[in-house]
Amino acid sequence: MPAAKAGPFNGPDARGRFSGYGGRFVPETLMGPLEELEKAYRDAVLDPGFHKELDRLFRTYAGRPTPLTPARRFAAHIGKGRIYLKREDLTHTGAHKINNALGQILLARRMGKSRIIAETGAGQHGVATATVAALFGMECEIYMGTEDMRRQALNVFRMRLLGAKVRPVDSGSRTLKDAINEAMRDWVTNVADTHYLLGSVLGAHPYPWMVRDFQAVIGREAREQILAAEGRLPELLVACVGGGSNAIGLFYDFLREPGIRMIGVEAGGRGPALGDHAARFEGGSKGVLQGTLSYVLQDENGQIAGTHSVSAGLDYPAIGPEHAALHDSGRVQYTSVRDEAALEAFRLLSRTEGIIPALESAHAIAELLRRGPELEPDTLVIVNLSGRGDKDVNQVAEILNQDDLKGRSE
């Protein structure tokens, strides 16, 4: 097997390992399809036509490049730093998820698959998948936990409007993890004609590698844009981390620059007790979940623990294997932000910049608020605004009642 096209730092190697993390831990029935997918991706990577078509779709369909917006009033609120927002919220469908969905549906077509399945947590990946399936005229089924369907009713409606079937998943914690289990069971059963369009840098090899490559467009654009705007590279990058695809997408192109600090922000939820958060590096340990070896929230018997986050997109007990490698090497620093701080950031960015962030992205904004005192006046920062918050307004309205909002208005 030829070695994977290694990234500048972490690979993966030919077995799909990032410094030991990752790999391919799946039932035998899926090994053939994963080998087929890996081969199709290797062929595609070497095919200029594939890149050309993806690039065309990025420009003409997804709305790329997305702007890099200076956040002056937000920076003034912090009092220091030159802060830019990478506006993935402005892509078609409203989150970075479309980048990966477009890449994978091109692959699915190359492999001759006619049916697309996917899991979704916040619904953004489900919407992106339903969208590209509609664009390519493919049958589409999306697995979604019933708890997430309740939290993200608007996205459920959007997926159905786009022609996808939304399959409610009522097992386990009824969130993203359980939706992935169910999607894997579907894939095991229907491998012949079905492509599993996994939405993050999770799962078995080649997904973490392939999804990272599709998302790396975020960082490539950001590099060009910041150089054009400021004539220099940033000093700090901040992104939220669920599975970790928006974070790795922003970080990847900058990893080779030693002077740039990077912070991944996990969901701190309600607090540090197991089951109350999704901070894998703080509360987790090495384990194997859904095909990959990484940091996992689990009990002492190796059973996967429940998680909680106000944000459905971060509510997952494992983290992408490349993040595990970046964590152990110290290249990226990981931290966590609690629900209430994320809600505060959600509100603050809306008022200072006229941008309603997704609750996921609000975790990255909150981390920057906390770091404010550490910044210098000219510290150049890019925050990945991975998605827009329209999908979250109902849920947030339930939590912060209207009176509360009025009472706090400036």
Binding site: P27, E28, T29, M31, D178, V191, Q290, E300
Partner: protein, 307 residues
């Protein structure tokens, strides 16, 4: 330097595979145990050998340990043997069983509610072993085993009296250390072969398996089916090209006709969801053992009626 290490590793893997193939051949062609096996009986291979000599086929039921509780499991296994089982597959539950359909998911969830630790399951194996010599194959997912520690698990499972291990999300590619640990402790690694497995993969699977090769009857998760998949015979035949090990077929087998059909193409039939489903229907706990026994008798064609 790194490349040299990689090449070494690759050479070692190949060596291990060749050795495993040789050992497979040996296990099948010589009836007397080898020296290293002399003090460690390989009950699974021995059971298939005895069955073959008598023209019989293996009936291999699956139950989830801890469903409805471990006390029942300890009493059920000897009952399964009395009812005509030759090997028993004992599930160790995992919170996220991606290879299992709803019936076995429910059984796992019932067991997990007790909060048993791995050592509780191993203690149950030990108690079962005191009552019966039926070969026991532990059936689980990687994470609970990884968490317990591969070497510790292999040692403790063997000491408790287990004979083999099947981990659904471990394939030969990720199984190097796992196989070595089992091998060192005299446990048989059993791997799955699927209709989607390429010839190259089947060769690897056959080379790494001991005891028998478990052929998955169809693509999909566990669960009772009306019809036996047409993929069974070709997959079994493809496995036979690479090994002389016995072959057993599982996934979806739920009726005596299917058991008989499987026995016509290979050495063993595994029934899981149908038995677990029958257990779910038993309302009176005191009737659990006789009803499961009767159901197994029906499956193997020894009794006419079932639940």
């Amino acid at each position: 330097m790194e490349r040299a290490q990689k090449m070494n590793k690759r050479a070692n893997t190949r060596f291990a595979m060749e050795r495993a193939q040789k050992m497979n051949k040996r296990a099948n062609t010589r009836f007397a145990p080898t020296e290293c096996e002399a003090h460690m009986p390989r009950r699974i291979g021995e059971k298939f050998r005895v069955l073959k000599a008598g023209g019989g086929k293996a009936f291999i039921p699956f139950i989830m340990a801890g469903d409805p509780d471990l006390e029942s499991t300890v009493r059920l296994v000897p009952e399964l043997e009395r009812a005509g089982s030759h090997i028993v597959e004992l599930g160790i539950p995992f919170s996220d069983p991606v290879a299992d359909g709803p019936t076995i998911q429910r059984a796992g969830a019932r067991a997990l509610r007790h909060g048993y630790a791995m050592k509780d399951y191993l203690k149950a194996v030990e108690r079962i072993r005191r009552q019966t010599g039926v070969p026991l194959l532990l059936f689980s997912y990687y994470n609970p085993i990884y968490r317990y520690g591969l070497e510790a698990l292999a040692r403790d499972a063997r000491q408790a009296g287990a004979d083999g291990v099947l981990v659904t999300d471990i394939t030969p590619e990720e199984g190097e250390e796992y196989c070595a640990c089992l091998e060192r402790n005299g446990l048989d690694p059993v791997f799955l072969a699927a209709p989607t497995s390429s010839a190259e993969r089947i060769e690897k699977i056959a080379a790494c398996s001991r005891g028998f090769v478990y052929v998955v009857s169809r693509t999909g998760v566990t669960g009772a089916q009306q019809e036996l998949s047409g993929a069974v015979r070709p997959t079994v035949e493809r496995v036979r090209r690479h090994t002389e090990l016995p072959v057993a077929v599982g996934f979806g087998i739920s009726h005596p006709d299917q058991v008989r059909a499987v026995w016509q193409v290979c050495e063993g039939a595994v029934v899981g969801s149908a038995i677990v489903g029958a257990m779910e229907k038993v309302r009176d706990p005191s009737r659990l053992l006789p009803e499961v026994g009767e159901f197994c008798g029906w499956l193997t064609g020894k009794k006419n009626s079932h639940l």
